[in-house]
């Protein structure tokens, strides 16, 4: 389905841009989730020339059915995306609990300060 492919590419572009541009970690994660979604959409929309009925039949499959293979890969991808996104969110939560900000730039600065402080102490000791 060309419409699907185009949408997938657009969605990917927008989400990838947001992933890079936005500084807030939560927005980054949401963008990542949408990148995953765009991939799923792409894989499901790609096969052309095949029909669009579900590939389910007791006898032989009529040619109007959609291709079951990409659906199989994508099913796995959806579940893994959820699990990985959940874990990523957990890490973000842990970061925030420690540094009290979701701003990526501030986080970097804070972590660097901490590391420098630790290094300085290490040298004196």
């Amino acid at each position: 389905m060309t419409a699907g492919v185009v949408t997938a590419v657009l969605l990917f572009a927008i989400a990838a841009l947001a992933l890079i541009v936005r500084r807030d970690l939560v927005f980054k994660l949401v963008a990542l989730g949408l990148v995953n979604g765009s991939t799923v959409l792409l894989l499901v929309s790609l096969p052309r020339g095949i029909g669009s009925r579900p590939p389910i039949a007791a006898g032989a499959i009529p040619p109007t059915a959609a291709d079951p293979f990409p659906q199989a890969y994508v099913l796995a991808a959806i579940v893994i995306n959820f699990a990985v996104l959940a874990l990523a969110l957990v890490f973000v939560m842990m970061l925030v609990e420690r540094y009290h900000t979701t701003d990526a730039r501030r986080l970097e600065a804070l972590i660097r300060e901490e590391r420098e402080a630790a290094d300085a102490e290490g040298e004196d000791a």
């Binding site: 699907g4 949408t7 947001a18 927005f27 979604g37 799923v40 499901v44 579900p54 996104l85 959940a86």
Partner: protein
């Protein structure tokens, strides 16, 4: 055809949701997009994928994000309600503390959320981490389970004795609502200035008031795990104190 409409909506929603200010709108957008995609998959002859995407993408993922960012972007304040400092008037939150905290919250880029509760419950909430700040005319005479800021307004204590009241005076730091009743039942209370003013407005009756020697200042109590917040609040208060705004605010609300 309907597929194309649904698909066309997706980048639009994504573009809007990802580039605006509020986090929960982004999460909602993500959930909505997942849902639209699930419908598209169903129409496309991929029902297994559609069910999985709907249940996982639209429901589970959206929910865990919402659960995670529940307290985002909010400065949570818990307090016993006290006229003049932090109270509701005709549905609007007002008072010296409300103005102070409101400006502070805006300055650090958060939304202010105030929850009213009796003192014991409020202090407990702060301790448990259910709030960032404890307010409501707090005086740093006892550890409230958190970090006190510098005082933003001076006060002193008064000994109030109801008629025929005797016995050990209790220092009252709770909400205005139960002030009168507590005075009647306890007989003698030690009140700070604002609470005394509140009591006067409710009606002193034949209670006797005597100023005590003890002076103190109203503070905010910050959650123990947030020394950074305490620090920022102190700096904010210092700045206002130098500009003499604190006194102006007090006069405006307390007269």
């Amino acid at each position: 055809m309907s597929r194309t409409i649904l698909l066309a909506a997706v980048p639009v929603i994504a573009g809007y949701a990802l580039f605006q200010r509020r986090r929960w709108v982004a999460v909602l957008g993500m959930g909505l997009i997942s849902f639209l995609l699930a419908v598209v998959y169903a129409l496309q002859g991929a029902p297994d994928v559609a069910v999985a995407e709907a249940a996982i993408g639209a429901a589970l993922v959206t929910f865990i994000y919402v659960l995670a960012i529940r307290r985002t972007g909010r400065l949570t304040v818990v307090a016993p309600e006290l006229s003049g400092l932090l109270f509701r008037q005709q549905g609007e939150l007002t008072g010296v503390e409300s103005e102070l905290l409101g400006r502070f919250a805006r300055e650090i880029g958060l939304d202010l959320t105030v929850r009213f509760a009796p003192y014991d419950e409020a202090a407990d909430t702060l301790r448990r981490g259910g709030a960032d700040i404890l307010a409501g005319g707090m005086v740093a005479d006892v550890p409230h389970g958190g970090l006190p800021t510098e005082p933003y307004l001076p006060t002193r204590f008064y000994l109030v004795a109801a008629e025929g009241g005797a016995g050990e005076p209790m220092r009252y730091r709770d909400e205005e609502r139960t002030l009168r009743a507590t005075l009647s039942s306890r007989g003698r209370l030690e009140l700070d200035l604002v609470r005394l003013l509140a009591l006067t407005r409710i009606g002193l009756g034949s209670a006797q008031v005597a100023p005590m020697d003890e002076e103190a200042g109203y503070v905010f109590i910050v959650h123990a795990g947030r020394p950074d917040l305490q620090d920022r609040l102190n700096r904010f208060l210092d700045r206002l104190r130098e500009a003499d705004e604190l006194r102006a605010m007090a006069e405006r609300h307390l007269g």
